[in-house]
Amino acid sequence: MVKEYETIRDIVGPLIFVEGISDSSYGELVEIEYGTGQVALGTVLETTKDYALVQSFEGTQGLSPKKGKIRFIGKTMKVGVTRKLLGRVLDGLGRPKDGAPLPIADDERDIQGNAINPYSRDYPTDFIQTGISSIDGLNPLVRGQKLPIFSGSGLPHQRLAAQIARQATVKGQEESFAVVFGAMGITFEEANFFISQFEETGALEHTVLFINLANDPPIERLATPRIALTVAEHLAFNEGMHVLVILTDMTYYCEALREVSAARKEVPGRRGYPGYMYTDLATIYERAGRIKGLEGSITQVPILTMPEDDKTHPIPDLTGYITEGQIILSRELHRKGIYPPTDILPSLSRLKEKGIGEGKTRKDHSPLSNQLFAAYARGIEARELMVVLGEAALTEADKAFVRFADEFEQKFISQGDYESRTIEETLDLGWELLHIIPRTEIKRIPPEIFEEFYHKKRRAAVKA
């Protein structure tokens, strides 16, 4: 099945135009031989009866049309999956980086994966306690959700992701879990931070890492998340594990996508990113979830840095259109010294409604969080007014809301790297803070819930 061609006509960026081949298959894996002993992997992007357009995952530097050879492998790119990958460090294409040989695989899977039949999905409903109030209280994560972190350069998204990985638990359940970590274009230090975090907590043996660093071939990044997710799917749906997939940094992934698109001279979409980026990203993010009748789950926490902190940039924008919410980090809170600097208002967890409440967290969870959001929003608005016009310009109620916003940031949002609050602690803290604003302004909470929690929780919180 393998066919070799020496008929390279053009090389443009990561793309190689091979003449004379009339029957390469779309999406087929190729090996690119440089003639120097170096062999790279690639894939067929377009095929006709006269030529094939090949994309090299490992760049084209040093490739010569005369000396280079292209081998068409006759199958799509696959990855060997097995539980024995846990504890291993691999490169962006799934080759060992830790010196040991690859374990014998249970199965070989196409890295593109197949779409889960929407009828076969099971709705994510298990609340994951991360111990972080701004997440658990207001934007809770549930098992099988895809919840990205939108960050900016220099903001502590890695600390937050590591804290989530460290602290995440599901109430009353001791099931097997795993972390699949896909790094795309991050620095050695950043990668090292995660590895040492996992080592420190003994999580490394439950973790498989796919690492493409900043100085690794950029196009390889297009394969890395797909390889990582193929392995995650095996662990989740064949081995019954609850898998947390961390993908960082999706911004570099998108840049690689743009590079290929530009080399193909496609009509560019917004800011030069290709028009199909939405669909392309969806084929990554939609690989999170649960499947009816199966044990495991895939929870995705992709991380991306927003260029110029702009969330309307196509990368965060298209991501937000696909994922089930987003945790946005705020430079302003970071400057105020608040960790984690969660920008509460634009952050969102879309799956929270079915993951919280009686029997899951507590019945006051949903209305309380609505009220906290509303009060914080009003506090921020009043605070802005106060900055311009001075405190005297505010009504008494608005002054109270400003105080609320300040305390909310200092006590509720802010917490330590190693501080893990139970959901009850988080909610009680919220009730305590509500006492700062006038009672008549507490409109989001149905009367029964209000009566049950408003006073009691105050006492509890004061005692503690």
Partner: protein, 590 residues
């Protein structure tokens, strides 16, 4: 979906190029535009979308990985069509009407390529009840019989389009599969057998006798919609907004609570879990009008973002054709598409692969005309047939503009055709003001027709109450600007009262929590009483203030908490809301 290959018209060619969802095949000069084709050894389904010098350009509804040049392409000689008949309700299909439940039974949890199954079960028997007798003369659109498809839904079997003055020869009562003959008619001496199953090409609108102007509102139970920006049965609306602003939740709310008889919900390039949500929730929820599970009146089309993009392009046509089919029986149908932007992007992707001249933002030049002709398929109509049966399709599309920018081509092209604009705003969503519909720039061109209806059916002062409330919201916007510049002290007492009233309209009326059992749906009567209580407080407060009563005291009246909590009062206790004005009177003038 109909994919049988008609022998007489088989045209076969060979692939010469594959680029993503686009496949080009040679030797296809006898094939026809928009014919359905089968590609490669797995028989992947595709559709011819362009012909150039004997070459067919085919959009393939499945992943094309593994296809090679020289693989065979077969034309089926028929356009992409949907199957129609009893069994549609409660089903979930992909964008080309493949039944997802059956696909799961046959192939497991993942969508595999080349999977095929009939959209309508061939085995299931339905009880057919004739509506005409032998000897009667029928024409296209006439009801020949009915099937009780669900407890509450009567599926009407119509004479197919194209048949005129046919004499019923035989008609059978009894249990039949959709492919069995239930009626034989005589058309000019020729016997024609009629079955319950029919087919219709999705890109061609189903015919009707004539269109009618909008008349009644579609009652949705959503306060900001029904009271401020109403939609009519047979109307068109769009829901644009940035990610996370609440388009899907609003669409789900309409699918749940609107008083249509059938809902066709198209998940077009959106999340898998959102379809699961509907699938798990709708069997549990009751239709407030028939008290039957909501799923029994719903057809779902799910072509999620990670499913093939060409099938996504087809999905909204599949959806609207099914909607028209139910309309033709004389029902009020809503067709909801979430999101039309993903459809437009699919169009753009295919257009790019065809190397067409790109228009604005890379969209093809025909984007606007395609959108317009899609929404044109909505409307209230007199259906085909000898009696003047009325039916309607209400079309509601989400739009997902990049960066929330409403000046982009899909929003703009949509606004040119739809009559209702529910502008969702991220600023409101951040404050958790839901539905995050901006009350200042949204509009409904049906508002007058609906105001008349509300005055007639609910209360004669409803319309004027709405006008006054809207004026207060507009005035609030101006006053807030002043407050921003010079602070609250600059305002008069009357203006303070107005601001507080505006806040009350926003928080106590417009905000509606979709996830609270009591708040999720509000009857028109309750909507009226809630608004009435707020506006009444406004007038009483002004009056009291003009009599020299203390402003802070008026504004802190405890009845205001009652007004705020009116939304949580159950429908069968709304007299309590009706009594709020009396309490206001007593408290303020005490």
């Amino acid at each position: 979906m109909s994919i049988s290959v008609k022998k007489e018209r088989v045209v076969s060619g060979k692939i010469i190029r594959i680029s993503g969802p686009l496949v080009v095949a040679d030797g296809m000069d006898k094939a026809r535009m928009y014919d359905l084709v089968k590609v490669g050894s797995e028989g992947l389904v595709g559709e011819i979308i362009e012909m150039r010098s004997g070459r067919a350009f085919i959009q393939v509804y499945e992943a094309t990985e593994g296809l090679r040049p020289k693989d065979e392409v077969l034309s089926t000689g028929a356009p992409l069509s949907v199957e129609l008949g009893p069994g549609l309700l409660s089903s979930i299909y992909d964008g080309v009407e493949r039944p997802l439940e059956i696909l799961e039974n046959l192939w497991g949890h993942y969508i595999v390529r080349g999977a095929e199954a009939p959209a309508i079960s061939r085995d299931k028997k339905w009880h057919f009840e004739p509506a005409v007798k032998p000897g009667e003369v029928v024409s296209a659109g006439d009801i020949i019989g009915t099937v009780q498809e669900t407890v509450n839904f009567q599926h009407r079997i119509l004479v197919p389009h194209g048949i005129k003055a046919a004499k019923v020869v035989e008609i059978y009562e009894g249990n039949f599969t959709v492919e069995e003959v239930v009626c034989v008619v005589d058309v000019n001496g020729q016997k024609v057998e009629l079955k319950m199953l029919s087919k219709w090409p999705v890109r061609i609108p189903r015919p009707y006798k004539r269109k009618l102007p909008p008349k009644e509102p579609l009652i949705t139970g959503q306060r900001v919609v029904d009271t401020f920006f109403p939609i009519t049965k047979g109307g068109t609306a769009c829901v644009p907004g940035p990610f996370g602003s609440g388009k899907t939740v609003l669409q789900h709310q309409l699918a749940k609570w609107a008083n249509g008889e059938v809902v066709v919900f198209v998940g077009c390039g959106e999340r898998g879990n959102e379809m699961t949500d509907v699938l798990l929730e709708f069997p549990e929820l009751q239709d407030p009008y028939t008290e039957r599970p909501l799923l029994e009146r719903t057809v779902l089309i799910a072509n999620t973002s990670n499913m093939p993009v060409a099938a996504r392009e087809a999905s909204i046509y599949t959806g609207i054709t099914i909607a028209e089919y139910f309309r033709d029986m004389g029902y009020d149908v809503t067709l909801q598409a979430d999101s039309t932007s993903r459809w437009a992007e699919a169009l753009r992707e295919i257009s790019g692969r065809l190397e067409e001249m790109p228009g604005e933002e890379g969209y093809p030049a025909y984007l606007a005309s395609r959108l317009a002709s899609f929404y044109e398929r909505a409307g209230r109509v007199i259906c085909e047939g000898s009696t003047d049966r009325e039916g309607s399709v209400t079309a509601i599309g989400s739009v997902s503009p990049p960066g929330g920018d409403l000046s982009e081509p899909v929003v703009q092209a949509t606004l040119r055709v739809v009559k209702v604009f529910w502008a969702l705003e991220d600023r409101l969503a951040y404050e958790r003001h839901f539905p995050a519909i901006n009350w200042l720039n949204s509009y409904s061109l049906y508002d007058r027709a609906v105001a008349e209806y509300l005055n007639r059916e609910v209360d004669e002062e409803y319309g004027s109450l709405v006008k006054e409330a809207m004026a207060i919201l507009q005035k609030e916007d101006e006053l807030k600007e002043i407050v921003r510049l010079v602070g609250m002290e600059a305002l008069s007492g009357e203006e303070r009262i107005l601001l507080e009233t505006a806040r009350s309209i926003r928080e106590d009326f417009l905000q509606q929590n979709a996830f609270n059992d009591r708040d999720s749906f509000t009857s028109l009567r309750k909507q009226y009483l809630m608004l009435k209580a707020i506006m009444d407080f406004y007038h009483r407060a002004l009056e009291a203030y003009s009599q020299g009563r203390e402003l802070e005291k008026i504004l802190n009246a405890s009845v205001r908490l009652k007004i705020a909590r009116a939304k949580f009062i159950p429908e069968d206790e709304i007299d309590e809301i009706a009594s709020i004005p009396k309490q206001t009177q007593e408290e303020i003038f005490a």
